[in-house]
Symmetry: C2
Subunit: 209 residues, 2 copies
Amino acid sequence: MRAFSRGFRDELFELMRWRRDVRRFQTAEVDGALLARCLDAFSLAPSVGLSEPWRIMRVDSHEARLRVKQNFAETNADALSRYDGKDADSYAALKLAGIDRAPVQLAIFCDDATPKGKGLGAGTMPEMRRYSVVSAVTLFWLACRAEGLGLGWVSILDAPRLARDLGASTDWSLIGYFCLGYPEQEDDTPELARDGWEQRASALEIRQV
Amino acid sequence: MRAFSRGFRDELFELMRWRRDVRRFQTAEVDGALLARCLDAFSLAPSVGLSEPWRIMRVDSHEARLRVKQNFAETNADALSRYDGKDADSYAALKLAGIDRAPVQLAIFCDDATPKGKGLGAGTMPEMRRYSVVSAVTLFWLACRAEGLGLGWVSILDAPRLARDLGASTDWSLIGYFCLGYPEQEDDTPELARDGWEQRASALEIRQV
């Protein structure tokens, strides 16, 4: 029996409130033991059938990072071309990835073919394996922020090309490319809201059936 | 600038350690204000382009619950038929959903067609919207456990049939069916591990490129 205090619960929500998708990083290195401690969140994450289908690559080499950077630049230029007028101007002004500076960069995949868990829970919804990886990433995100580290999730990428460029197994699908480091600034408001791109909904609607 | 103490970080990992996928519930009701407080986690969750694509249905009516129960029973029987020998015996002995007793039941969807966020970040990876819902659910899961509530994620379902049965919009895809209530017991080890179905990996592998 493990109970949590009101004070802890309040601070947990404070942590959620101060978690950001970070795109602007300091160049300061991240201590290896600190990073390992944050990555421990993966081993506590939920996964369908205990399949633990996350596969993590740390992208350090100059060549690999260059390919990621090119992939993002081309994909982002294509995304920009789909907006018109004011939206195009707004989009062009956004900084959407910290690939240029983030000291730690991780490509995280889902192994769709893992035998672990013997397929339990993933028969009719095989996407549950990918969702398990997303849950694990979310715990990792909180762990990072609790340590003062910022994480940025980059999805403006040609995912199959990135997987090929990094030599991932053909059974692996990219869940996201993650930039990690100390943020330039901290904020309790999403950067997209501060930049006027979109705002949070004012209330959560629940439909009853 | 919002920093978190070592004590808080340790307790955050304790929370992750005691989070479980719960299938055995007490019948005790969940207070409405308490549930609302946990659901506040959604409004702090990350979402691609600030699209906030989560759509939540609270399933209360006898008829709707009966349909979910039938859906699960048939899908689970089909899943069982795919195992042989010892695995089939083990699978049959598992309790995989708390639909029979959980006082609160939520069907959570992703609106794949939401205009919110203007498609940002979801051009090449439209699955990012669904991943956003999974991230939000993960924060909600932690919030629930911090309040002593157990959450169980049911994925052994015919998802399109469930969406139809509940009258979901055709643009919505089911992310999961969630059972919520006070757990019969608390544990720091997953039920699938206790039951011998699968164990957690001993270490997290990181490949460097």
